[in-house]
Symmetry: C2
Subunit: 419 residues, 2 copies
Amino acid sequence: MKTAGPGRGTNSVSLRQYNERSLLQRLRRAGEASKADLARWAQLTNTAVGSIVESLEQSRLIESAGRRQEGQRGQPAGLYRINPQGAYGIGVRLDRTSIETVVIDLAGHILARRMHDQVLPQPEQALAIVQQDIAAVLAELSPEQRGRLAGVGLAQPYNLGSWLQQLGLEADFRVWDAVDFGTMLSQAVQLPVFKENDGNAAAIAELVFGVGRQENDFLYVFIGAALGAGAVLGGESLRGSSGNGADLGLMPVPPSALPSAPQLGGQWDILLSRASLNALSRHVRHHGIEVAGNAQLEAVVRAGGPAVAEWLDDCVDAFVPSLRAALAVLDLPAVVIDCDIDGGLIDALIRRSEDGLRAIAPEARQTPRLLRGSFRADAGAIGAASLPMFFNFSPRADVLRGHASPFVPTHHLQELSHA
Amino acid sequence: MKTAGPGRGTNSVSLRQYNERSLLQRLRRAGEASKADLARWAQLTNTAVGSIVESLEQSRLIESAGRRQEGQRGQPAGLYRINPQGAYGIGVRLDRTSIETVVIDLAGHILARRMHDQVLPQPEQALAIVQQDIAAVLAELSPEQRGRLAGVGLAQPYNLGSWLQQLGLEADFRVWDAVDFGTMLSQAVQLPVFKENDGNAAAIAELVFGVGRQENDFLYVFIGAALGAGAVLGGESLRGSSGNGADLGLMPVPPSALPSAPQLGGQWDILLSRASLNALSRHVRHHGIEVAGNAQLEAVVRAGGPAVAEWLDDCVDAFVPSLRAALAVLDLPAVVIDCDIDGGLIDALIRRSEDGLRAIAPEARQTPRLLRGSFRADAGAIGAASLPMFFNFSPRADVLRGHASPFVPTHHLQELSHA
């Protein structure tokens, strides 16, 4: 993937690509539309839209959706919609304690999945697992479907070897910080790999397949083992100079007041120490309740009790000022909150955060709308698989600056799927 | 000014405008360049660059800069540079205690200035002052120069009526929150007015005329009466959904430990309570030293002493975690710090902030480069005047999306200048 270099020149090929992608996005958001709808909306001529619609239909990214009578007389107008079978994306999500591989279609549906709940092994071993899983999910597609693969998305927390103390993990992942797993994977499977950290990938999933159908600007927060986050500004993902944009988990917060929290010393801890399922599990265990895995943790949350209530107080105490700080910086009207488990936790987090944000709202500043995320435990996997969709089909400014190649259906994957 | 609506279609007029602006930006950064340099850099054909250079030269935005021998033989290549006389911008900076109007050329030099150190009057009265000042600065331009005016930039703190307690002001500016001074001004002077809050405007000045010649991504912080800030991401200004992007002054911080600070109650105060010249003046006065105006305050800073040292400790204690939080969100490699006064204060702030940022750096995260701002007390005025330059001549993605009108030199201002 090329890096964006602002200020370069652009040409009419980029222009055409951008307009194609704009119309695809419009159809994704509107559900269905006529050529006249699209021309009005895009402020392009009917001729230009007609030519784009024709080529999108030829490449099968969109399809006919019947006809609609427009006005009193004349021919009913032909309607178009996204063709879910138009393209497929593979998503690989690496986490410190799991490996997940999925394949999705252009509508965002998961068609096949492989999941391993295990502490992340050495990179070579992880690569072997992922290769096998990619072959397995591809085997569930037809040869023609495999020819319409837009690429592989890789979502993983960056700096896997870091913050283990705050996360209460004793494993040693330092070797992961020295390898570029995206490049390893791309060489192994001979496919383009699009890599983002897990928070940004999940935010992109919301942008393409979730709340992004209505919202163009939002902050996204995912409470998982750690805390992942991303920001969508004007329909673009805030990547940041080093790919760590919207890294809310590392925002400074006062140390936790919970007796279960590790005593790290210093005036400032980081948000993921307090607002994460690791912190919740730690505190639940401190109360003498054993939890192994998210299903058990969700059951504990659903049952309620002092351990959960105490952690929630401590979590919100850290989360609310961090959210206010992030909103002061990004000036966004909405915050999407999602979580690996539910059992009432997401609603409680939203309610408590909203109250907290109002309580410390600075003069002259609104409190954003807080929205539930769309994908819960699937956010990571769908986030990963959204990356090839986003980079191939979304009208990003980079496309205009010439940093994008067109999607071309091929058949070069038939062998791989039988590997 | 039109609002950006991402995802719309674009056309070849936008494309040409964007490419023109890209070459202008390149010349601004490089100083001078040949057509071949520009074609290589922009990845455009020699023909395309030749045609753009010709029209930029015709509209006098660029000019010949002599010739340079390229290689062993053949004709020396013609060089081009920005023509400082190519366009002019008026800047109007409103603050709670001052009104300033300047006119700058395309090289960013201030050609004329009017300044009033007074508490901001009612909007109608302020409008009369600004109209007079605009006429006065324009009177110093020739009729031909006045015909090349790109517009008026208006920089003001948004929500002028707010945070007066934190700023230690007793005036009542609430009427300002109910008027749109930009529209009033535009109607009065019959010129396009580009409006940004003061922090974003000063960041745009750095982008166009200051550190932005080298840096494409930076956080900008201005310590003035309050604290203004802006962020530049990939050569674009982070405007935010309501125009309040990078509003670091409103980030939550623990309350000040200084006895001079107002006791507001609550667990969280806002950064501008502690990191601002208002907070410094307040603390200096608490030590029994009277200060009226920035010149006196700078003398106190230069002299040193416990009042300044105590405030600096308290300021940095609040500023450093806010900077870390902003950097976690924006992931930027550089921070530009500027201030209304100096006397050693800017260097001290940079040194102390750098030490503080290192001390609380999260695992696996770098400390950004801290740079001095370019404009000191002129940041607000040059910031305001940079706005018409930025919106008319910078290669922003919005241009590609069709949200920009071309700059056309006119002569409709000759009458105004004699008003």
